[in-house]
């Protein structure tokens, strides 16, 4: 029995070794690679991005049978910076010509260094940290911590824009007199947004009465943070974080009899699709987000339908951002006459030049443009949750 098991396992292993070889033939297609957490705690984001990008690639290939075709491949980085570099190298070995970037920020910081050194074009759907791009001034110290990496571009808002836009929005709409903030202090996304929010809030003279934090390891119990905000008499709670901890904060606040107004950022998107979530808890939650799956425009509707048919869930903004990434790359590539037999470095030169001058219309915004620093300009939409659906605020 044991011998049989050992033999079978040896056989399986050698087959999987062989499976690693081959498949390296030139397909005549533009090879776009992407890396993201397909397993592990952040897998929801990586899979959403992968699915969104896959739909875009399939649409493009079907619509242009005689034009430039795309071959898409995603590698798993489990939201781990070291594994993300391995994933990047695997993709390079496969012959990747354009990199769709890492999905999350911490791996994004690692892979952007590699891609920049290789002169590989890099457009990330959702790694929003400024350290992914480099060259952005830290609002707390006023210095540039990481040098600008010239080949790196973002499809999502860079974190500081979200933070300062949120502060500005709260100020303009007079949403709260006493503001409390809870943020995740071991996460570059959450701290990045908080720092710029804090700087802007001070500038505008917003009254921030309570600032508390949590980490990956303590994101189950929020009673301390909620008590602190409640004791300070806060009437608006700003939550710069992903929807998963936010859903717990909403539930625990309600249980503690604390009912402020809530304001979130793009990571809050997805809270309504959380399986089993009592959406009445999210009633009145405001958020700034570039994408709304309930939007009525034709492109969004068709994307949501395809996504639901293929994967069973409603797409979140990660899926929409990745979808836009593939289309933006395709638009730039066809415009500049990129062909499948060009080297990654030549393609990179063309795409960088095109990205800083082109305008792109996608699911996550109309008339997007990119600056030379890699940041995108698009306007976040203020949304509020009413009767379990997003409604535009303005």
């Amino acid at each position: 029995m044991k011998k049989f098991l050992a033999l079978t396992m040896a056989a399986v292993m050698s087959v999987s070794l062989l499976a690693g070889c081959g498949g390296n033939k030139d397909s005549g297609k533009l090879k776009i690679g992407g890396a993201g957490p397909l397993t592990g705690g952040a897998a929801i984001y990586g899979n959403a991005a992968k699915n969104g990008a896959t739909i875009a690639a399939e649409e493009i290939n079907a619509a242009n049978p005689n034009g430039l075709q795309i071959e898409l491949r995603y590698e798993d980085d489990t939201h781990d910076p070291e594994k993300s570099v391995n994933a990047y190298n695997t993709l390079k070995g496969w012959g990747m010509q354009v990199f769709l970037g890492s999905v999350t920020s911490a791996p994004g910081v690692a892979t952007s260094v590699e891609a920049n050194a290789d002169h590989m074009f890099y457009l990330t759907p959702s790694a929003s940290s400024t350290d992914v791009l480099g060259g952005v001034v830290n609002p707390l110290t006023g210095t540039v911590d990481v040098e600008r990496k010239d080949t790196i571009f973002q499809m999502c808002f860079v974190d500081p824009n979200q933070g300062s836009a949120s502060a500005q929005y709260i100020f303009d709409q007079k949403l709260g007199d006493k503001i409390a903030v809870i943020y995740k202090n071991d996460d570059v996304y959450s701290t990045g947004v908080f720092n710029s929010f804090d700087a802007k809030a001070k500038e505008l003279g917003l009254n921030v009465v309570s600032v508390t934090t949590f980490t990956e390891d303590t994101q189950t119990d929020f009673s301390v943070q909620i008590n602190d905000a409640k004791a300070a008499g806060a009437d608006l709670l700003f939550l710069p974080m992903y929807y998963q901890p936010a859903s717990l904060i909403l539930a625990q606040s309600a249980a503690a009899g604390f009912a402020p107004k809530y304001f979130g950022i793009d990571g809050m998107d997805g809270i309504l699709t959380l399986e089993g979530f009592d959406t009445s808890l999210a009633e009145g939650v405001m958020l700034l987000t570039p994408f709304n799956a309930d939007s009525e425009d034709a492109a969004t509707k068709s994307f949501v339908e395809k996504y639901q048919a293929a994967y069973g869930d409603a797409p979140n903004q990660f899926a929409a951002d990745a979808y836009d990434c593939v289309y933006a790359i395709y638009q730039a590539a066809t415009k500049t006459g990129v062909t499948a037999d060009m080297s990654a470095s030549d393609i990179c030169d063309k795409l960088v030049a095109e990205f800083t001058s082109m305008t792109f219309n996608g699911l996550t915004g109309e008339g997007m443009t990119w600056a030379a620093d890699g940041t995108v300009t698009k306007s976040p939409k203020g949304m509020v949750i009413k009767d379990g659906a997003y409604v535009g605020m303005d």
């Binding site: 397993t39 592990g40 705690g41 897998a43 929801i44 899979n47 202090n185 508390t212 934090t213 949590f214 980490t215 990956e216 390891d217 303590t218 189950t220 119990d221 009673s223 301390v224 943070q225 008590n227 602190d228 004791a231 998963q244 859903s247 717990l248 539930a251 309600a254 249980a255 503690a256 009899g257 959380l274 399986e275 089993g276 979530f277 009592d278 869930d313």
Partner: protein
């Protein structure tokens, strides 16, 4: 009043740690191995109960029983496949196997149930006269809220603690377990089926994990495949804090750990809460190496 509120929240969090720690300490106390997959058995139990009550609309109690049944079988199978062949191996090998089992369960859950978070139903609510539901009792005109989950967790914890103490002290199987814990070879010579006894230990530990999973998720409702890992580690810390192997120690350690965590966050800094928790643990272990209620065994030279 805010102190009382924090204290109650701390006990609430601590009762969850305690209930997980009971399973840890029971398996360690008898099989003398750290079952790092315990946290993930909790996750499996929670998923089973979630599907039973949310998807199939069964009564929560049926869900809990189903979860216990599945986890018991799972626990015994894990023990048979992963730990039993290593009975004579050094304890380090078993430890690494347990960690591997933990990752295996997490990733299997991810394949089976996708990584998308699910929100566990709130079981412990009372209907208000106006049709809404309450999750806790308000005292002193709403200044103090005691959640029902806190009360239920504490009660269940105490019941389990008393039952386990009685079981290991007074039944034939319990005595066999203690004998195995003292000395496996001597127990075998006395006619005790060591393998069977350890299997039963795992069965009980895993059934407890299912209960812990359901109670944990009714307190903190987000369910993902990695749900069990962090509370598992915290509960392990609690078990060590209270004295690993000691059943009342697990309870005491869990509750204290929760209270310290909340108090440190409330009165010192939320940024430092975890650092303080582990600093307290280190200091406790320096003073009492066997934990608060652990047996101080003097080595005879």
């Amino acid at each position: 009043m805010s102190f009382l509120n924090n204290l109650i929240n701390g006990i609430g969090l601590g009762s969850v740690y305690a209930i997980i720690a009971l399973g840890y300490t029971m398996v360690y106390g008898i099989a003398k191995m750290l079952n790092f997959a315990h946290g993930d058995v909790i996750m499996v139990g929670a998923y089973v109960c979630f599907f039973a009550s949310s998807t199939y609309g069964l009564h929560p109690l049926v869900g809990v029983l189903l979860a216990m049944a599945v986890c018991t079988v799972l626990g015994v199978v894990i023990e048979r496949l992963a730990y039993k062949p290593l009975r004579q191996a050094p304890s380090l090998a078993v430890l690494i196997t347990a960690i591997g089992m933990s990752y295996f369960l997490q990733n299997a859950a991810q394949l089976l149930w996708t990584p998308n978070p699910k929100v566990f139903p709130a079981f412990f609510t009372l209907a208000n006269p106006d049709g809404t539901s309450r999750t806790g009792v308000d005292l002193f005109g709403g200044q103090l809220t005691v959640r029902f989950t806190t009360i239920v967790n504490l009660l269940v914890c105490i019941v389990i603690m008393v039952l386990l103490t009685w079981f290991t002290g007074n039944t034939k199987m319990g005595k066999a377990m203690r004998a195995c814990s003292e000395n496996k070879d001597a127990a075998r010579l006395m006619g005790i089926d060591v393998n069977f006894t350890i299997s039963i230990t795992f069965a009980i530990g895993s059934a407890l994990a299912a209960i812990a999973g359901v109670l944990f998720l009714s307190s903190y409702q987000t369910l993902v495949p990695t749900t069990g890992s962090m509370p598992g580690i915290k509960a392990f810390t609690a078990a060590v804090f209270g004295g690993i192997g000691s059943i009342p120690g697990a309870f005491l350690g869990g509750v204290l750990l929760g209270v310290i965590e909340i108090m440190a966050g409330a009165y010192i800094s939320t940024q430092l809460a975890n650092a303080i928790v582990f600093a307290v643990l280190i200091i406790t272990l320096l003073v009492r190496p066997a934990g608060l209620l652990g047996k101080q065994v003097r080595e005879k030279v």
